[in-house]
């Protein structure tokens, strides 16, 4: 299949970081566009939308959160991966709630960023035609026949457990905030402790070592992520 390389817009005002991102992403087959401030980033997204955006939250002119808000208000659904600093869980959650797709915490390894970019791009493709069976390691989820198997056995799930897993599968590889999951599975802003109990139950059924989960990963202070094998 010979498709055009995905176009990634890197919005970053620190030259050393944008330099290594340019080098690495180009080597990985991306077409890299660059913006150093929020205004020019918004401009570029409007005029010639990229396939995915890497956005640093600390920009010289606009707050990164404002950039996300303006992009989404402008009707664009372009995936956004945020670069944020450690110990700013609230900022991450806010960015995700505003419509960012994922985040990477600075400092980060490049493999982590590439995985997030792939998940964000894949999710966009999936929405155009979802795959019938999700497979990752020893876990398979057949979303048409509603059959879940883990370590070779079929797993019986309660309806709500299945809904939860189904949501994670739909967004495989992406972080989902507590709020997002609660709203989509329970339909309202229920207390997050229910979610924790269901996650524990789900892990006990699908994980080999529920205390050291390999599939459903906790993003402490933010939410959960279903690991996707690429």
């Amino acid at each position: 299949m010979n498709v055009a390389p995905p176009r990634v817009l890197v919005v970053e005002d620190e030259p050393p970081i944008s330099r290594f991102l340019r080098t690495t992403l180009t080597a990985q087959g991306y077409h890299v566009l660059e913006a150093e401030c929020g205004k020019s980033a918004l401009d570029m997204i409007t005029r010639n939308p990229p396939d995915v955006v890497v956005l640093d939250l600390g920009l010289p002119d606009l707050d990164g959160l404002d950039v996300i808000r303006k992009v989404r208000d402008g009707g664009s659904a372009v995936p956004i991966v945020v670069l944020s600093s450690r110990s700013d869980e609230a900022g991450k959650v806010e960015a995700l709630d505003l419509g960012a797709d994922d985040y990477v915490t600075k400092p980060f390894g490049v493999d982590e960023l590439l995985a997030r970019l792939r998940a964000a791009l894949r999710h966009r493709l999936q929405q155009q035609g979802e795959r019938q069976v999700f497979r990752s390691g020893d876990l398979t989820v057949d979303v048409v026949r509603r059959i879940v198997t883990a370590h070779g056995e079929e797993i019986k799930l309660s309806p709500r457990e299945y809904d939860l897993l189904r949501l994670l599968v739909t967004h495989a590889g992406k972080v989902l905030t507590h709020k997002f999951i609660l709203r989509n599975v329970w339909g309202a802003d229920t207390d997050v402790q229910y979610l924790r109990i269901y996650i524990r139950a789900l892990r006990q059924k699908i994980e080999r070592e529920p205390d050291r989960p390999q599939h459903i990963v906790t993003e402490t202070g933010v939410g959960y992520r279903l690991r996707a094998s690429d």
Partner: protein, 511 residues
Amino acid sequence: MQQRRAISLGAYAGSSAFVALALGVGLALQQFLASSNIALAFLAAVLASAVTYGLWPSLFACLVSVLAYNFFFLPPVYSFTIADPENVVALFFFAVVAMIASNLAARVRDQAVAARQRAKTTEDLYQFSRKLASAITLDDLLWATAYQIALMLKVRVVLLLPEGETVAVRAGYPPEDMLDEGDLAAAKWCWDHNRPAGRGADTLPGARRLFLPMRTGRGAVGIIGLDSDRPGPLLSPDQRRLLDALSDQAALAIERVSLAQDVDRARLEAETERLRAALLTSISHDLRTPLASILGSATTLSAYGDGLDATARAELARTIAEEAERLNRFIGNLLDMTRLEAGAIVPQAELVDIGETVGSALERAGAILAGHRVEMELGADLPLVPLDPVLFEQVVFNVLDNAAKYTPAGSTIRIASRRDGDRVALTITDEGPGVPPSNIERIFDKFYRAQGTDRQRAGTGLGLAICRGFMEAMGGDIRATNRTDRSGAIFTLTLPLRAGAATATLSEDVT
């Protein structure tokens, strides 16, 4: 007043009794003695009155004796007239001798009384100085002083010490903590000029109290304020001298305690200075070591990378990545410590599955623990615990990081949890050398590092201090103990289970 009159009436009655006794003796002996000798019995009564009751009762006894002697013994008896002129002269001399004798005897008595009083005062002052010497805090000292002055001078007392630009009440007997404006002005003037002010003094005599400076050789250390309901001068000259003695002792004691406080402050400053020095050493060492590895590896790669084989290049790249991670952890610790000390840690408590948080800490510590075996034994029925997941994950991470540092590769780290009444305990047990028992508490101090194991990989000395800070912020606790079955340390993290945080169940769900 009432009581004083009663005492003096008693004295006059007593004197009369002495004279009555002398009269009885005289009547009994008049068959055998000349009347001039009977006068000696009355003289004895006068002297007895003088020694027992003092001057005025003895003069009274003198007068009564003269009358009784005249009436009962000088002819014509049973009348106040005297027939023989010789007896008039005798009676006159008797009166003179009695008066002189009573005067002398009364003076001796006054001196004895004064001596007793002085001895009592000296004893009181001695007791007071002992009390002052044993006072440790300034408040104890001031209270003892106020009490002693009030007791010995029968006045109301306040003690004021300088506070910033002005003076403030620090003790009082009976207890008092505010002064009205006039008194405060007088106290301030007294402090500023180091001279008495207020009631009975030259300055601000309208104030309710008299204020006197408490001085030592170095100057004034505080102010005494006195008042009483008695009219007239507040203090007699004697009382004033006594007050000076009390005030001097108190001033010296106050100075002593203040000096001790200064020494404490100096010691604290020295300690702060030591911490700062340790911080700088730590920062320069812990930042530069990984930076040296990173810079060295990176420059090798860029300058000589072509001449290296693939294994060597990968090794250098791995060093850069690992050392950058280490640097990142160190900076994270510095940030956490700074946030803790700035009071910027506000735990966001949520009901959290402890196992989940431990799991994500383990995930983060994966690379550090690559050489260790980790065993988990988390109670499956553990309730959700109210805690801040971000802080708690960091605590668990730091303890694991610490365990990885101080225990040999290949050893086992065991993580277990249990419910302990209304608390939950998470224990992290290792197979390292354990903690030196003498330092078991100090390991949670900032910049403390276990001695003797200060290998190249030793940490920042901040990790466990952050653990304690975070646990306490969440209302929990962290303790270290040593294993008894073999060498190794046990770190126990405890958290309270808030009332009502009962195990949530899956009952709403139907499978």
